[in-house]
């Protein structure tokens, strides 16, 4: 029920200010909702860690007793995973595990402290916040203008830095909403990216504001304002007046135009910088040249980089505007992408004259209803009749959100921090603390954590430290049958949750294992999902909001159009396909194997691989298994379908001996001499699934098949030389140093290449194609099929059996370790 009373005269106009507004619920109901109550203070005995004491209350009710604490090895891995998303480096690990004479709690507290001091803390925890802040580097769908936000990353880097510097959480929030109105250094305006980096919805103003309202309230207070855009909330004490009160705040706020974005750091003068400036001015002049050609009396600005885009656009027709925007996009692109460009904040500012909001009935912009003041949602307001007074009201909004007696902001944050540390949230709907959110089982604990946060200067690090020094955090993740049966979801925290690495920590630790991790903090986004797969941490990957590459989506990276507090954690065959077959994983497996190549001894190298990937030594059984794998893999002779290899060389006519040189380069389709054809050494010689091309002189194309067993085989196939230009090719089949068959195929002709022969296991049969005269136009088709006498199914087929480079045996083993559950799950 909504009660509206005329409450104040606002800017000289009488408006209705709902002071007891309560949307679709009664005020009594709303007043008694647990999450809207002020924080309760738990009574503590002072014995033991407060968290353990509070958890024990519920555990005792069910007669549950917690499991023992985990080993130091496990805790070290867990601590680094939770705090940094990485694994501890081997020397740090060795040092940590070598120390003696400390109790487990003291030791554990110390390693937690060490990890918290790492700058990688900020990267890990920034990503959690960026999910909530629906961060992306691009605008989403649009038709003409460039999609890249040139300086989104300055916001991302601001978040990383603020977390590393432990900026108090309330201040952290305030700056993201109103840094431009606060007495803080200019560089802090990078925080405003929080507001500006949402989806652009084809520049539909009301939707851009809707996005800002949504992200502001969901990330801080865990309440959703989406519904009240069109109607009063059905279950929460929120009304359309509340929505449009905030709408007015953001409607009175404007983005700083791209050319005027505040500079937060300037690069030093250097030849590179000067070149950048030159190019920048060139591109700006291209914009002015275009405008001058289309607009009568166009005035070129004194500084070519300072100009009014809107004014020009107003004078251009639709297609010209497109061209103009394209040129401007090129300018912005350089500003955004060049490493010499000054860094800027994606800031906002108040409009000179604040706009007075009205309710849009049913959410339709054209349907203007009653006027409302810019104000904080009535139910949560500090004083019933207080409307925002200063400018847009943005700073007052930020202050209301972080008011010490706002019970939601601290609770929502504490619940999130607990979730990221412990693996599951106390409030099972971490994105929603509204009326439908259920009272958590450990409500006292939630309030204790929220209190702790508020009383420790809103320090996130202090809260993380507080949780991680409890015994509950040190619990082993192994549980007995009784606990598993009676509390399968571990709602009572009687044991540790097994953490599954998310996209970021999985990819980053993979890079750690391979030694390719680039530890540089911050900077422009990198296209990490594409070759050559830069080794930057995943948080620095370019986030495309519109066509998010499947690499991100298959590993549950959230949709960046809306705030996500808790990610999905799916297990799908698409993930497995990526892990098995992607060039990225193959590259990592190779690099991991290569990093252990200095070990001559096979066993020592296996141990080294285990240490890199899993941070432990293999058991004797595992060692033996790995050795068996290395012995059997790669030799290829036991393949039931036989094995083909692709090379070049020649057959000595006198001895029948074949000189076979494997072709070293695979394009993904074709085996050839090098990245480009013709190769300097081997010329045009190459093989693909259906045939190939011979090289010049002694560079015949050779397809080699190795027999898997003793057999009488029939080789069938057809050698074709389709192009009518050039001259003939010659095909030969050679085995046991004898030329068994020889066919000359003229341009445009083809010839059957059938013969029967005996082979012994391990012997090779070579299929050679030589050029006669000129090698030009000598492309041929030849994909032999090998049948065993009396057997219907072919023993081997060149076309179906065509394969790219097999990972050698060490990379294959390394890949297995990187794919294992042990690698992905953290006990």
């Amino acid at each position: 029920m909504t009660v509206r009373v005329p409450a104040l005269v606002f800017l000289g106009i009488a408006v209705l200010l709902p002071i007891t507004a309560s949307g679709g619920v009664s005020l009594d109901e709303a007043n008694s909702h647990w999450a809207f109550q002020s924080l309760a203070r738990a009574t503590l005995s002072g014995k033991g860690h407060p968290i353990d004491e509070l958890l024990a209350i519920r555990q005792r009710e069910r007669n549950f007793s917690p499991v023992p604490e985990a080993s130091r090895e496990v805790l070290l891995r867990r601590a680094w995973h939770v705090i940094t998303g990485l694994q501890a480096d081997s020397d740090l690990r060795a040092r940590a595990l070598a120390t003696q004479g400390e109790t487990l709690p003291a030791w554990s507290a110390r390693i937690v402290e060490e990890a918290l001091a790492s700058p990688h803390f900020g990267e890990r925890w920034a990503r959690h916040w960026l999910d909530v802040a629906r961060y992306a580097d691009t605008k989403g769908y649009n038709f003409t203008a460039g999609r890249l936000f040139p300086f989104a990353f300055t916001y991302r880097d601001w978040v990383v830095r603020s977390l590393n510097e432990d900026l108090p959480y309330d201040e952290f929030l305030r700056r993201q909403i109103a840094a431009d109105l606060m007495d803080v250094p200019v560089r802090e305006q990078a925080a405003l990216g929080f507001l500006t980096l949402g989806r652009r919805y084809l520049n539909q103003h009301d939707l851009i504001i809707a996005d800002r309202i949504d992200v502001t309230f969901r990330s801080t207070m865990g309440i959703t304002m989406q519904c009240v855009r069109c109607h009063d909330h059905k279950s929460d004490p929120l009304t359309m007046a509340d929505y449009y009160g905030i709408y007015g705040v953001f409607d009175s706020t404007e983005e700083v135009p791209e050319g005027e974005l505040p500079i937060i750091s300037t690069p030093e003068d250097s030849p590179g910088y000067r070149k950048f400036r030159e190019e920048l001015i060139k591109r700006a002049n291209a914009v002015h040249d275009y405008a001058a050609g289309k607009i009568k009396g166009y005035k070129r600005p004194a500084d070519p980089l300072k100009f009014d885009r809107k004014a020009a656009l107003n004078k251009l027709n639709q297609s010209e505007s497109g061209d103009y925007r394209g040129l401007v996009a090129k300018l912005d692109e350089l500003e955004g992408k060049s490493e010499y460009a000054p860094l800027r904040a994606m800031a906002v500012r108040d409009r000179p004259n604040p706009r007075e909001p009205v309710i849009f009935e049913r959410g339709q912009q054209g349907n203007r209803g009653a006027k409302v003041p810019r104000a904080f949602p009535a139910f949560f307001r500090d004083a019933p009749d207080r409307a925002f007074e200063k400018g847009s009201g943005r700073l007052e909004l930020a202050q209301e959100l972080t008011r010490p007696d706002n019970p939601l902001t601290a609770r929502v944050c504490a619940n999130r921090v607990w979730m990221h540390v412990m693996g599951s949230p106390l409030v099972s709907t971490p994105g929603d603390f509204g009326m439908q959110a259920q009272l958590p089982l450990q409500a006292e604990l939630l309030d204790h954590l929220a209190h702790y946060l508020r009383n420790h200067d809103w320090s996130i690090k202090a809260l993380v430290r507080h949780i991680m020094t409890s015994r509950a955090w040190r619990h082993s993740s192994f549980a007995d049958d009784k606990l598993n049966e009676h509390d399968p979801e571990n709602r009572y925290y009687t044991r540790g949750n097994r953490h599954r690495k998310d996209l970021e920590s999985w990819r980053d630790t993979t890079l750690q294992a391979s030694g390719r991790l680039d530890r540089k903090l911050g900077g422009r986004p990198a296209r990490i999902h594409e070759a050559p797969f830069p080794g930057r941490r995943t948080i620095y990957g370019l986030i495309e909001r519109q066509n998010t590459p499947s690499f991100f989506r298959i590993f549950d990276f959230p949709d960046s159009s809306q705030p996500v507090v808790k990610r999905s954690a799916t297990t799908t065959p698409n993930q497995a396909l990526y892990l098995m077959n992607s060039p990225f994983l193959h590259g990592e497996a190779k690099a991991t194997a290569a990093a252990t190549a200095s070990h001559q001894d096979e066993k020592a190298r296996i141990v080294a691989l285990y240490l890199r990937a899993l941070q432990r030594v293999p058991s004797p059984g595992e060692l033996a298994r790995a050795q068996r794998f290395l012995g059997s893999a790669g030799a290829g002779m036991q393949q039931s379908a036989g094995a083909w290899s692709y090379g070049h060389g020649r057959v000595h006519r006198d001895s029948g001996r074949v000189e076979f040189h494997p072709l070293p380069h695979f394009t993904g389709k074709v085996w050839q001499g090098g990245p480009e054809l013709p190769d300097q050494k081997t010329g045009w010689v190459h093989w693909h699934a259906a045939g190939g091309h011979p090289g010049h002189g002694d560079h015949a194309a050779i397809l080699r098949w190795v027999a898997p067993k003793n057999a009488t085989i029939r080789v069938s196939g057809e050698l074709a030389r389709p192009t009518r230009k050039g001259d003939a090719v010659r095909g030969l089949i050679v085995a046991r140093n004898k030329i068994l068959g020889k066919w000359r195929v003229e341009p445009g002709a083809k010839s059957g290449t059938e013969l029967t022969l005996q082979v012994a296991a391990g012997e090779s049969v070579d299929f050679l194609v030589e050029s006669t005269g000129e090698e030009a136009w000598d492309s041929f088709h030849w994909a032999p099929v090998i049948l065993e006498e009396g057997v219907k199914l072919p023993l081997a087929e060149a076309q179906a059996g065509f394969s790219g480079p097999a990972l050698e045996r060490w990379p294959l083993l390394a890949q297995v370790l990187l794919l294992s559950n042990e690698f992905l799950y953290v006990d």
Partner: protein, 464 residues
Amino acid sequence: MLSRAGMGMAAVALNGVPGLVAAEEGKGSGLDLNPLAPRRPQFPGKAKAVIHLFMNGGPSHLDTFDPKPELTKLHGQELPKMLKTERPTGAAFKSPFEFTRRGRCGLEVSDLFPQVGSMADELCVIRSMHADVPNHEPSLLLMNCGDGRLVRPAMGSWITYGLGSENQNLPGFVAMCPGGYPIQETQNWQSAFLPGAFQGTYVDTRHSDPKKLVEHIESGMGESEQRRQLDLLRAMNEDHQKQRSHDARLEARLQSFELAYRMQMEATDAFDISREPEEIRKMYGSGTQARQMLITRRLVERGVRFVQVWHGAGQPWDNHDDLEKNHRKLSRECDQPIAALLKDLKMRGLLEETLVMWGGEFGRTPTVEMPKKGSNAGKINGRDHNHYGFTVWLAGGGVKGGHVHGTTDPYGFQAEENPVHVHDLQATILHLLGFDHEKLTYRYSGRDFRLTDVHGKVVKEILA
């Protein structure tokens, strides 16, 4: 806990309400461990799979399935009724195409679609469709995701969320578009706040090599070599699991590698139309449309839940100019393949349980589009967008065959009798699959979302 076969996991922790998972932002559930496991709908549905043939750009209903003799009479004159259109339009513009009664039902279909017309007795033509606005972007999103402006999951995502997929070796939701993306790009098949596993898998059907069609499907090594590698992985994972037997996630992940291993073969096979007998390939004809329609049948036959087939990148059917020439060219490309798809499905007994839907994001105006600098070529022989009234047809999957539902006004400008909004169409599709559209929900950010938001009414009259 989980069956070794990795299939038939429908029983896994779906809270006993099949297909209705009250998941909160991916809270650990069977949905996480095997999101595509087949699930039962809320009530027995007639359709098990959906094929959406998307004529993107907006095909003209007036020139295909909604004949308007009145428009012919008034050709060149001002229409008695004018509605606001996206761009200026002028006088009445008669269809340059002949309509013929086809099938036993005598359905009138223009000579743009003679072969589809030969399947008239299977078609359920809705002539009274309407949408919200005359612009491509919001209309595409409305048709696909149920909301023209906000970011919402696609219908295919909702349906695979509700039903899982019958084939674990293939993606459950496939979106095919030759040569690139349509307008709004991947947003048309996004899963938004639903888990990424329900996102449409994009396939560029310009390629004919099946290995190019699915990402990372090619192992690049011999089959037996990879088997040996996976055997080692399995042995390692089994050791690891022994001490952690209560964690179902570990077994699910172990199985995911086995599924992927099988997928390598099955997916390559599914996309390889060269394995079809010659007479079938002949029936579909040649070219890209034939290829993608044939792939569509192969996918549906293998249990893929939702296949969306786009005509082409951009908006090919958006004929503001030269409507006659362009519509003829486009219909020639797809008429035979679409008819073949219907015939083929019918021959195999698949049409009964497969709902085929044909249409664009809207239709086109009965009035001729006037020249406007920068937006058309000024030829005065095309039609503008029309969201007030347009045609969509359905076939199979529990709808009446040889049936016409609803009308537009005498000029074809606006839906008149029994109007069907896009939300109603979506509610009906969900109904045919066995879902109450108001109850197929997903809890996200404190609210139960659904495909039809707060709208939608099942069109009972078209149900067989």
